[in-house]
């Protein structure tokens, strides 16, 4: 099996699905001839034709609006939003139309759309190329929200998302595109090739939506994380020598509640880590669920380690980013109570 970066794994997922299903199309800004600014669609237009892989005008609302119509026709459109920060103009079509179409039409119409968007910081992108906006979408009934943390999952989850008959918002942590990132910006970057989860089959396979993975088993404390923060939490556990159980949620909605509850009941302690801003972030929902399901097993208050409630700053990126030190401190607080 070839070692793939996350970019290559995503490209492979789209390639496989374009090949398997004549109803799959993908479009977005710079997606066609150029192959996408992060190269995720490189070579796909040449291989599958410009009626299946094509550029879109700079109009995210127009992309989602036309995708809803394509879905109603019977296609399975994949829309690439160049950065998650640019998804806001598309939210009306996503929330008012795509998410509610099946419901409002009594099941007559639906929107089998996958919206892909690079999210998160760590590349000095400033406030318009760094945001983690997942909680806006997990709050919307009718949408599924997915964030992979490695190439194997990225491909398997994206194929599941494309095959899903409901709209899926698929956020790709851009700092993980070309290598795992443990939250130490001062250390040399590591490519995916040395990582076990870069072993990605060439062909079709799926990772089901709604299933979390245990990224590191442990007994001392549960860390709920997704995307880049999975790698940061792994580094924190190793560096602080804490036997943490790190859960990679993979799908935020629908959430794999059983894996979360089993782990917290076992450890009695819970840290929630995400890069997004804190207030009303996805961690707030996780904290509520953990106390609803595990209150009598908790030995200490639940700890949230998150981005601050500020726009993503350009120059203070690493003060904003919840790195391994902050995650380790959070684990200690949860353990010490």
């Amino acid at each position: 099996m070839p070692g793939m970066s996350m970019v290559q794994a995503l490209n492979s997922a789209i390639d496989v699905m374009l090949g398997r299903d004549p109803d799959v199309v993908i479009f977005g800004e710079d997606v066609g001839y150029y192959g996408g600014v992060f190269r995720v669609t490189e070579g796909l237009q040449k291989k599958h034709g410009d009626h299946r892989v094509f550029d879109a005008p700079i109009a995210e609302g127009g992309m989602l609006g036309t995708a809803v119509g394509m879905g109603a026709y019977g296609l399975r459109p994949i829309v690439e939003i160049q950065f998650a920060d640019y998804i806001y103009p598309a939210t009306d079509q996503l929330i008012s139309a795509a998410a509610r179409l099946r419901y409002r039409s009594g099941g007559e119409f639906w929107a089998p759309i996958t919206v892909r968007a690079p999210c998160g910081g760590g590349i000095f992108g400033g406030q318009t190329h760094s945001q983690s906006v997942e909680a806006i979408f997990t709050h919307v009934c009718g949408l599924k929200t997915v964030i992979p943390s490695n190439p194997y999952d990225a491909k398997g989850l994206l194929i599941s998302a494309i095959e899903d008959d409901d709209p899926v918002v698929f956020f790709e942590p851009k700092r993980l595109y070309n290598g795992p990132f443990d939250g130490h910006p001062d250390r040399p970057s590591v490519p995916w090739t040395q990582h076990p989860q870069s072993e990605v089959p060439d062909g079709y396979y799926t990772v089901p939506l709604g299933q979390a993975a245990v990224a590191r088993p442990g007994d001392a404390v549960t860390v709920l994380a997704y995307g880049t923060m999975v790698h940061v939490a792994l580094a924190a556990a190793e560096e602080a020598e804490i036997d943490a159980e790190i859960i990679d949620l993979r799908t935020l909605l629908p959430l794999d509640i059983d894996t979360v509850v089993d782990s917290v009941k076992k450890t009695g302690r819970c840290v929630i880590a995400h890069e997004a801003t804190r207030t009303c972030g996805y961690g707030a929902e996780l904290a509520a669920l953990v106390q609803e399901h595990c209150f009598y097993h908790l030995e200490a208050p639940i700890v949230r380690v998150t981005g601050w409630d500020t726009p993503y700053p350009h120059i203070f990126e690493w003060e904003y980013f919840p790195g391994p030190q902050r995650v380790a401190d959070g684990m200690r607080r949860a353990i010490e109570g």
Binding site: G61, G62, T66, A72, Y73, R102, R104, P254
Partner: protein
């Protein structure tokens, strides 16, 4: 504004470059003159039988509207919206399109469904949110969905259907399908970005779609000038996008039919999309929640220079010797009886007030194709 004469506008070949249609954005395509004669190049030359079917569908639409409006006043439904004065648009356009062309309408084109012979019983049950409402009581009255009639689920968010129609048309083109899409938007909602998106994508991808702007002068209490209608016609919005543009007397069944037929042939032959401004007048209030006496002169509708679409088509048929005032009156009475009879059947399946409705359990269905655990638990929490 000048009053445009019937028959004065030239009819270009369907294959002309879009630019050659742009002068038409500042004219008004009319076929029926003041005496009820059909004149000029846009006359679709329909058979008397088709004209009578069109007249009947418009009259049924009006009778249906009248009854449902009163049902709201009696508290049997929560809300209603009439299309009085605009019946020629829904009915005439549905007649000119193929039955499987896909329609992305607004709440004021109920005539599309009626012209496609969709049962008004089904529409009434939706308005009553009763046990036969296929939308399971989830939608406001009038926000129909009828996949079997190629009629897309209506939204209350204005304008969002416009780019969706373009996307459907793009998909049809990608698949080499013969079907085209058509969409409608009110002149007020042309200020929304969705309008701009739809025209951009329709132009860039040469989508086989007809984009209609129903300019009925009023967006609730806002006159069309608040959407920029005094600075340029709504048909002229097509010019900057390189789309074909037509401006049509929307109260003239034959002009509506002729223009739609032209745009449909053009789209089907892959010559691109057409923006059609349907120039009309909203004779009724915006909805049952609206009181137009507070913002517009009471006699404005009566003075509308282009008359009433039903009266005009009726006069035309009478002139042809294919109709009479007596037959008109008789049909009117028959349709009132018919709507009342169907209404009684619909009410027997429940009204909003009295039920029966769908089971509360169904509230949790269709959010997703398969119900996830959190919705199952919420349903249990409600105890249903």
């Amino acid at each position: 504004m000048p009053r445009f004469a019937a028959g004065a506008v030239e009819r270009p070949d369907i294959a002309v470059p879009a630019q050659q249609t742009h002068p038409l954005a500042y004219q008004l395509i009319r076929v029926l003159d003041d005496e009820g004669a059909a004149v000029g190049a846009w006359d679709p030359k329909l058979s008397p039988e088709t004209l009578r079917r069109g007249l009947r569908a418009m009259m049924l639409t009006r009778a249906y509207d009248d009854r449902m409006f009163r049902q709201q006043r009696q508290g049997k439904i929560s809300f209603y919206m009439k299309c009085t004065g605009e019946e020629a648009i829904g009915v005439g356009q549905a007649f000119a399109l193929a039955p499987d062309d896909m329609l992305f309408a607004t709440y004021r084109q109920q005539g599309l469904l009626i012209a496609r012979d969709w049962p008004i019983l089904d529409m009434m049950c939706e308005c009553y949110s009763n046990s036969h409402d296929r939308l399971k009581g989830r939608q406001l009255p009038v926000l129909y969905s009828a996949r079997a009639a190629s009629f897309f689920s209506l939204a209350g968010n204005l304008g969002i259907q416009y780019p969706q129609a373009v996307g459907w048309a793009m998909a049809s083109a990608i698949k080499g399908d013969h079907r085209i899409a058509a969409s409608w938007i009110g002149e007020g909602s042309t200020a929304e970005p969705d309008f701009h998106h739809a025209l951009t994508f329709a132009s860039v991808y040469r989508a086989p779609v007809i984009l209609n702007v129903v300019n009925n002068q009023w967006a609730i209490s806002s006159h069309q000038e608040i959407a920029g209608g005094e600075a340029a016609t709504f048909a002229a919005r097509a010019i900057g996008f390189g789309l074909a543009s037509l401006r049509v007397d929307g109260n003239d069944f034959l002009a509506v039919y002729g223009a739609t037929q032209w745009a449909a042939e053009r789209a089907r032959a892959n010559h691109g999309a057409t923006l059609i401004e349907m120039f009309t007048y909203r004779a009724a209030p915006h909805s049952t929640s609206d009181d137009p006496t507070r913002y517009r002169p009471e006699n404005e509708g009566r003075n509308w220079p282009y008359g009433d679409p039903i009266e005009r088509l009726s006069r035309h048929l009478i002139r042809l010797g294919e109709w009479s005032p007596e037959r008109h009156k008789q049909l009117e009475a028959e349709l009132v009886d018919y709507v009342r009879e169907v209404g009684r059947e619909a009410e027997s399946y429940g009204t909003m007030q009295t039920g029966p409705h769908f089971s509360v359990r169904t509230m949790f269905e269709d959010v997703f194709k398969e119900m996830p655990w959190h919705l199952r638990r919420q349903r249990q929490e409600l105890g249903v």
